[in-house]
Symmetry: C2
Subunit: 443 residues, 2 copies
């Protein structure tokens, strides 16, 4: 008997109770790290460690089998060797668990397709859904649930990440900490034998905390299902994709990594574009976008103005705008009216507006104030290349103050600053805030 495939995905993100099958005493074991992360992450539901030896782990009563637990269990996190997983899944079925998150590897990614199929078929027949196998787990800010073996310190926020690579996901968790990117969720889908990106999107687009979704995809199984889900999602929030396995060799590597077929990159690219998805080439690029989109106000129109103190960086930013489809505001008369009082004769009031190398922080303040006030300008890109005359000690406060003013005024503002030690320190300091400041015009 096939069961209902549309079991509410909410149970996965907001479970009332979770079990860890394979909870371990050894703090170096994944079965210990996950339990520790759940407990230290502030999860409010019930937690049931399961280990045939019983006793206590991390001060919690440990059950010899999940069937010994009296209360209902929504999610079982399974962290035992592949050959024991099927037995555990049978126990979960008897216990009427709703979601299995199978951390264990050793399935289709190494050619063990049969066992993976057997497990997921059995689970589906018994009304359970499977995340994984071959994953690092799931973090959900809504439930304060960190059921991953990544960092124990995840900052809650507005970015949701779905990743097909566990290792990359764990490293991403670390990187989000450094970049001060708050997460609403991070979920590893691994071999995605059942639950896939489409299922997760269904939840995330309706999650009021999620402002942008980033997906790392190596291969797609159910293309049409994904397209439907993505189309629906991009109507509500931005969706960004890093698709690897794009090159021929990369596709081969992806196949041996998560056992998935990468398919033609051109087709994928075209479909994603139609669905309104942003595509990033690297994690760095994706994170820069996520950070910006999670924090920036939405522009009320497409007119963008570049304000710079150097022609060269202005030209490069103009190239970058054309590459990414950013429309530059192009009304010379209005621009002249707005900016000529603050631009020297040898500068330019055309877009990019060039305040020239003589600009100090007060020139930037004036120009940015004017741009904020003017209703014809909908968003601003401010560039700064280090000069000898600029009052470097005011750089950070100038950036921060304008960032605050623009956010209050509901207008997007991005800073790109470039130069030596002082500029680097400024970027480092401001990365810890939510200010949109980057080190290169292409970021």
């Amino acid at each position: 008997m096939m069961s209902d495939q549309n079991q509410d995905i909410k149970y996965l993100f907001e479970p009332q109770a979770v079990a860890v099958i394979g909870a371990a005493r050894d703090p170096n074991k994944i079965g210990n790290i996950i339990l520790h992360n759940i407990l230290s992450g502030g999860y409010k539901g019930q937690v049931f460690p399961v280990n045939p030896q019983g006793g206590e782990i991390l001060n919690l009563k440990t059950y010899r089998s999940i069937e010994e637990v009296n209360d209902p269990v929504d999610v079982a996190s399974i962290v035992i060797p592949a050959r024991f997983v099927f037995d555990a899944v049978q126990s979960c079925a008897r216990k009427k668990v709703r979601y299995l998150t199978i951390i264990s590897s050793g399935f289709s990614e190494i050619g063990n397709n049969e066992e993976e199929k057997r497990i997921v078929s059995y689970a589906q027949e018994h009304n359970m859904r499977v995340l994984g196998p071959n994953i690092f787990g799931i973090y959900s800010a809504k439930a304060s649930l960190n059921a991953t073996f990544g960092s124990s310190a995840i900052t809650p926020g507005k970015v949701a990440i779905i990743t097909q690579s566990g290792a990359l996901g764990v490293a991403m968790i670390g990187k989000t900490g450094v970049e001060n990117i708050g997460l609403s969720a991070i979920v590893s889908v691994g071999n995605k034998t059942d639950v896939d990106e489409a299922d997760l999107l269904e939840y995330l687009v309706n999650d009021e905390n999620t402002k942008i979704v980033l997906m790392y995809i190596e291969g797609v199984r159910e293309g049409e299902k994904l397209i439907r889900a993505v189309k629906k999602a991009t109507q509500k929030i931005p969706v960004m994709v890093i698709k690897s396995g794009r090159s021929e060799r990369g596709a081969v590597a992806a196949a041996s990594h998560t056992g998935s077929l990468a398919g033609s990159d051109e087709i994928f690219e075209a479909i994603m574009k139609q669905c309104g998805v942003l595509r990033a080439e690297s994690v760095e690029e994706a994170f820069n976008w996520c950070k910006f989109l999670a924090n920036a106000p939405s522009p009320s129109g497409e007119n963008t103005v570049i304000i710079t103190n150097g022609g060269g960086i202005g030209v490069m930013a103009t190239d970058a705008c054309e590459k990414y489809g950013v429309r530059l505001y192009d009304d010379p008369a209005t621009l002249k009216e707005i900016f000529s009082p603050i631009t020297p004769d040898f500068g330019s009031t055309k877009n990019p507006v060039d305040l020239t190398g003589q600009a100090s922080s007060s020139h930037y303040h004036s120009a940015l104030d004017e741009a904020l006030r003017n209703n014809n300008i909908h968003s601003v890109i401010a560039l700064y290349g280090e000069t000898a005359v600029f009052d470097g000690e005011n750089l950070s406060s100038m950036v921060e103050e304008n960032d605050r003013k623009y956010k209050a005024g509901g207008k997007p503002l991005v800073f790109s600053i470039f130069g030596g030690e002082k500029v680097e320190n400024c970027i480092r300091t401001l990365r810890k805030t939510n200010a949109a400041v980057y080190g290169d015009v292409y970021e």
Copy 2:
């Protein structure tokens, strides 16, 4: 009478004596900063400040006119308002100066073409060559000459930079300090009314200190001359170009910046490819390449191996290799023989070699030792994605030690490491060294 256009470019890079016309007392003035940079940079030749007021500036006797100087002068740095420049050039002609570096702006970049033409024609008729106008000056490691108004602290090294944007060049000087990129020269060409990239390349390819040349170009005037020079240069050293003004809007911006026509990007791209030039999109990308190429040994062949602890980053690196034309070594039998003793069963000995998330620094050491020893492998890309089991405290030393071993062994090695705070600290520390370590697989 037209004079000899091929006056030896050596006089510009290795002058015996320089004059600063427009030397100033006020430390905020460019005429003071340049003099200060020349003196504090350790220049061994003679320095003659010129200022109609005479007296002393920075403890040097100051001449009322360059014609009062008794010794020969190879280079005059001209730092006076545009309207006085022609008179100064006439004095220089009488003094038989060889090179004029005209810092002053206010010429063709603001439409003042006539005056620029008048100056350069006069200079050429009197056997002088002109760098600029509208430049920040020139730095030459060979002569310990920092005749720029950028940072006074430039590290001598192996990278030569030619830039058409002065402001960007000054910011680049700052950034090379942060990135620990040593410069053999940095030259601003500005409006390049006479001396252009081709002339400078002529010197740089024969300079034993220069290992790579980076050019920032907005527009080309004498295309065929440039093509000839670049073709010749790339036979000896790598040449990298950032060409801006690529987009339609960018081209317009470039025109109002240095008064140059950008031309079709497709044509430029095709020609540069034929000439063997590497093309970078952003300064960041260019600097990453420069740093690597200036320090890495040349590979003895094209066989590259990727060693990773995560499938996802391995797939992304494979994509990046295909994008940049890096050939991955593809002999499964040999790879298996080399790497199977150090790769777990659920890893992969195919290229990318996946040591799996269980890899510690000693696994990396073993794998990199094997790859260094094996003559079929000509270069190595090592990737590390943060994991809970890796001994993070050994990361920096592992990278450094292998960097040293590979340099000694004459094999290129690049590290790309990705993760949280520990990884970031490691990148920050190692940036100060010459180790090839980056934060993203696309760098």
